[in-house]
Structures are given as C-alpha cells and as structure tokens.
Symmetry: C2
C-alpha cells in the first residue's frame, strides 16, 4: 500500500518571527521500514516555544535543525508497521516524530503510551516534556517550601500552568503572570493560582508589591524581558529564579534584552539558574508517576489547546505561541485517533 | 586634651561618578567617650567599590548613608581612650570607623587586630572584608574543583587578586581579566594566575576561546557589563557565576546594562548567584585562620595600594577605584602608625 507523507522542512533561518518562506512544504512517498525500524502515523504534534530556538544556527543545548531537514517536533502517534521487536502495530508511542504525517523510526527515542490511561494530547502536556519541565524545574531548581511565594510567568501556558499547580500542591502561595484578562481568569479559576497579574494592563512591579508583599521566593521564568526585570525588583532574600525560557525574546531582531536589575541577585543573595529538561531523562518515570497520580486524584488539571488543522496548518499554529494566543498546551492535531484505529 | 576631627559627610546623592560637591568636609571637636564607649584614632581606611552603592538612596543589602551622615568606611585604628572594658588604650582595632580622623564607638562592631602578625593594611585586605569576600564567594558559591577553570574579573583589584590566588591554591586553572598591560602582568607575575586577558585591548570572548577552550567552570564577577556578557558566551556546562560586584555599572547614569547573554545559563545549565560577605560573619574566624596560614606560608600574597593623603584626600582616592587606577587593595592612610604609637 502506497502512502504519501506531507511534512515541513526548514527552508531558511528566520529573522524575527518565522515567515511562510522559512518553511518548505514537501510531499513525498512514505518509505518502508527497514530492519529494526517502524513506521508511525503521527496523530498529535507538540508546539513549543523552544522550537524557535532550534531554528537558529549555532551551539545550544541541542543541535539546530538544519536547512532542508524536517522540522523537529515532539509528537504522539500510532505504529502502523514494525520490524522492531519492541513495538507492534497498533501501539501508541510518543517521541520526536517531526512535523510530518508519517515518521520512520529506529524506535530508540520512543516511549509507549496508553490512550486508555490519559487522552493522547496529555502525553504531550502534563505527562510529556511539558510536565517534566514543570516538575523538575520547580522542584529541583526552585525548591519551594510550604508557605513560600512562587511566581510563574507564562502562567496560562503549557509549562507555567503546571508549575503553578504543582506549587499549590506543595503548599505555596502562587502568583501567575499572564497576558490579558481572559488568561488571568483561567489561571485563577481553572488552575487554582492565588492571584494572577495581567502584564498587559498592570504594572507588574507594583502589582507584585500588593499580591506578594513579603517578596518572591521562587520565580519560574518562561518569558524573560521586562517581566523578568520587574520580578527581579521584588525578590525575597535567598530567592531562586528558574530560567526555563524567554519567549518574549525568541524572535528579537535587536539584541536580547538582558535583565538590567540582575544586581538584585546580590542584594538579595539570590540565584538564577538555567534548566534543560533532557538532563532529567533518567528521572522521568518518577515524575510521570507522581504527575499521573495527581491527575487521577483531580489535584492537577491538564489543559490542551488542540488546533485541528493537519500538518498543513503548522506554520500558523506555531505563531500562536508567540502571539500569546494559546492557553495550556498547544497541540496540532495531524490525524484522527479513531480513524487511525479503524484503519 | 582637645582634639579636632576632620571628616567627610555625604552632601548629595551622586549622579554618575561622585563629584566634589557630593561631599562636605567638616571640622569639629572630638567628643569624649561616654560610658562603655571608646575613642579610636583612625590609621587606615578601606576604599571599596561597594561604597558607591551605599551613597544611593533605596533598599539594598545595607542601609544607605544618609545625607549629612559621616561617610561609611571600614578602617583600622588605635584606641586612644576607653571606657569599654573590652578595649584598652593602645589596642589596635578594625571595624566601620567612617571617613574621619577619630571615631567614637560603643565597640560592638570592632575586632582587635595585631600589628605584629600582619601590617595594619592587611587587616583591610586579605585578612579583612576583602579576603572574606574572596574566600566565601569563591569557595561557598563558586565551589571550584581541582582542574576546573576559574575566571576572575577585576583580577588586579583587591578581591579579584585574592580570589585567583585561592583558586590556584585549590588546584584550578585561573584566568584573570583586567584593564591594561601593566595590570595583566601583575596578575600573572605577582599573583600567579595562569593567564590574564586585557579587556581594554583584547576581545574577551575570543581571548577566552583561546585560553579556556574547555569553557569556564567558575566566573567570579566584580565588574558586570560587557565583560560579564562576554564570559557568559564561554560557560562550561554546569558553570557557577558568583556575582560579587559590578563596578562597570556603579556610576551608570543610563539604565544598568543587563547581561544580554543570560540565556547561556539555560543552554549550559549554569547558575548566577549573588553574595554579600556579611552573611558569613559567624564564619570569619575560620576564613581568617586559613588565609593567615596561607599568608605565612607564602602561598598568598597581599598587595595594598596605600594612598598617603590623610582624610582630606578621600574623594580623589575613591575615584581611583572607578578609574581603574589601583592594583590590589586600595587603602587611604589617615594617620601614621608610628606617630600614633608614640603619642
């Protein structure tokens, strides 16, 4: 049976926001899996701010996507052919599948997932890299203690919404920062944060003085820029800043805006530490178990924002992240789970 | 016996570099020590970059010097009258004596020092706050391991020169950053660093690529600004940055320049941590003992840059720090030790 694969390859390194001309939409026949390989039909793709960084040239925590290469993306899919003893047709898997409809894999970076335990998109969200990032970034680097004040930027987003919920579970007072009234309401009402500051209509520094008068013990930063600079002015002594991302700066065409108030680290004996989730790979099982437990107990809510557009819709869907249009985990639906199961 | 005290009081909060009009030179009679008090003749004053920060209004790690208040300064002096049972006439003491010739004190923040064990200025340098800052900043925050690469800015300065020497004692490869050929030579030849980069004539980033090809494990930052930004591009994985000061920014009249390359903390899973030496007060004795031991064994060299101008010379002497004129610990000589002893 001959199948056709559609995929996005990187055509050019973007300057600023990725433009349509930075992508090449390619149609090609799907190859047959060789010895030890398997073929996956992609069902959902994870859209992440980090993808913008992968499109840049130069050394980073992961090699850049090369020009002409299929754009890297995490995803979940269903095995439709296999010459790999670890995987059988009908298995559901998550891994780095790429922005495409079909993925040939040697199976090495794949994990089996069970759609009976959680809907597939959750394996890209709370039970995927998103959840791992929130879990280890907050608990390992942030080290919040009960009663302390935790501030999270990008609070309505994939990682931020999970960070805040975990901090609540750990007995902290949790303040979100998000853009717009709708998101702020979601952060408080759906994710249970104690308060949320709308950075678009409020002065973050002043607002923090009101909602966190004792200062900020842990700041989990997803956005960088002015918000980071504002939070730096309100640190409690010994504060820990977790640098998880800087979405406000990823598309900067001028030089990145460094945190001018960084000397607050000295005044407050505080630290600012970067984290990359892949470093915790051998501890994913412990985090997954605890997160799944919290999900099942209803202590943790997973919110996915699923764009139903197929691979074709990828470039526009990705831009939603940088426009701040999404709430929760942004996922691109590539194929129907049911259709896949019926095939 | 009636004595006259000369002192500098803060007249205005400086904008940029302190100007003569920011100081008031005051002459007044020396008071008599009351119950529990003692009178100290000031012999040497410590000149420190941090003093610039104390002149600013607003919350910091220590309260600001108020307008009209005697400028805060560490110093060493000799007790010339005492109604305090802990101190006798002829004792030498170090503490916060202020920019003046005579200091009335209740004795609470004073430490006795022994001029037979080390020259008095050393108690402001290696055996004073300078040494404590270097010791705890490097060892507690930087946590260098033998064989690792330690980079120190302000390497010819008071704290930097001690940091590098301690790092050498601990078996590290040590790179200094300093301004000008003369300082760089001093750093290598007198303080024993493995190399020194002249930020005035060299591209720090390129130079680091050559002298620290494996990357920087510990960066002890005294200067901030462009040098911090350059070092951020050359971090090794898991690097620790100690934020001790930012002398390049203390007199900034525009906004402070934040480290634009701070996302290198994420890429390299690195941390940037502020330190304030006063937090280690209860561990000063252990540091002093070890530093004194290294001094006596000739493993550690204390270099003081003594300006012999009396209190009157304070404003100009202070500016030498910000012009980068000093090497080692900048000290203002206020009175003659011998003269004091003869009195």
């Amino acid at each position: 049976m001959s199948r056709t694969n559609h995929q996005y390859r990187l055509a050019a390194r973007p300057v600023g926001l990725p433009r349509p001309t930075d992508w090449e939409y390619v149609e090609e026949p799907v190859g047959e899996p060789g010895e030890g390989e398997l073929l996956i039909e992609v069902i959902h793709l994870s859209l992440d701010p980090a993808m913008r960084g992968w499109m840049n040239e130069g050394k980073s925590y992961i090699r850049p996507v090369e020009i002409g290469e299929v754009m890297r993306a995490g995803g979940v899919g269903r095995v439709i052919a296999s010459h790999n003893p670890r995987f059988a047709v009908g298995d559901y898997v998550s891994g780095t599948l790429g922005v495409q409809e079909y993925c040939l894999s040697d199976g090495r970076d794949l994990t089996k997932v069970d759609p009976a335990l959680a809907p597939l998109p959750v394996y890209l969200g709370v039970l995927g890299m998103t959840g791992m990032t929130a879990y280890f970034g907050l608990l390992d680097i942030g080290q919040p203690e009960p009663g302390q004040t935790v501030v999270v930027s990008g609070a309505a987003g994939a990682v931020g919404s999970v960070v805040g919920q975990i901090a609540k579970i750990k007995g902290c007072r949790v303040i979100g920062i998000a853009g717009g009234e709708r998101k702020c309401r979601l952060v408080v009402e759906e994710f249970g944060f104690d308060a949320c500051i709308d950075y678009k209509s409020q002065d973050v520094r002043k607002a923090l003085r009101e909602v966190a008068p004792e200062g900020v013990d842990v700041y989990f930063d997803n956005v960088g820029g002015d918000v980071l600079d504002a939070v730096l002015t309100r640190l409690a002594r010994g504060a820990r800043i977790v640098i998880c991302g800087a979405i406000s700066q990823y598309n900067a065409t001028d030089q990145v805006k460094g945190p001018a108030n960084y000397m607050s680290l000295l005044v407050n004996r505080a630290s600012m530490t970067g984290m990359v989730v892949f470093d915790y790979a051998d501890r994913y099982p412990e985090a997954t178990a605890e997160l799944a437990q919290w999900l099942s107990e209803g202590k943790l809510r997973s919110l996915e924002d699923v764009v139903d557009g197929g691979v074709r819709a990828f470039p526009d869907a990705l831009l939603r992240l940088f426009k701040g249009d999404n709430t929760g985990k942004l996922v691109l639906k590539v194929a129907d789970e049911v259709k896949a199961a019926d095939e």
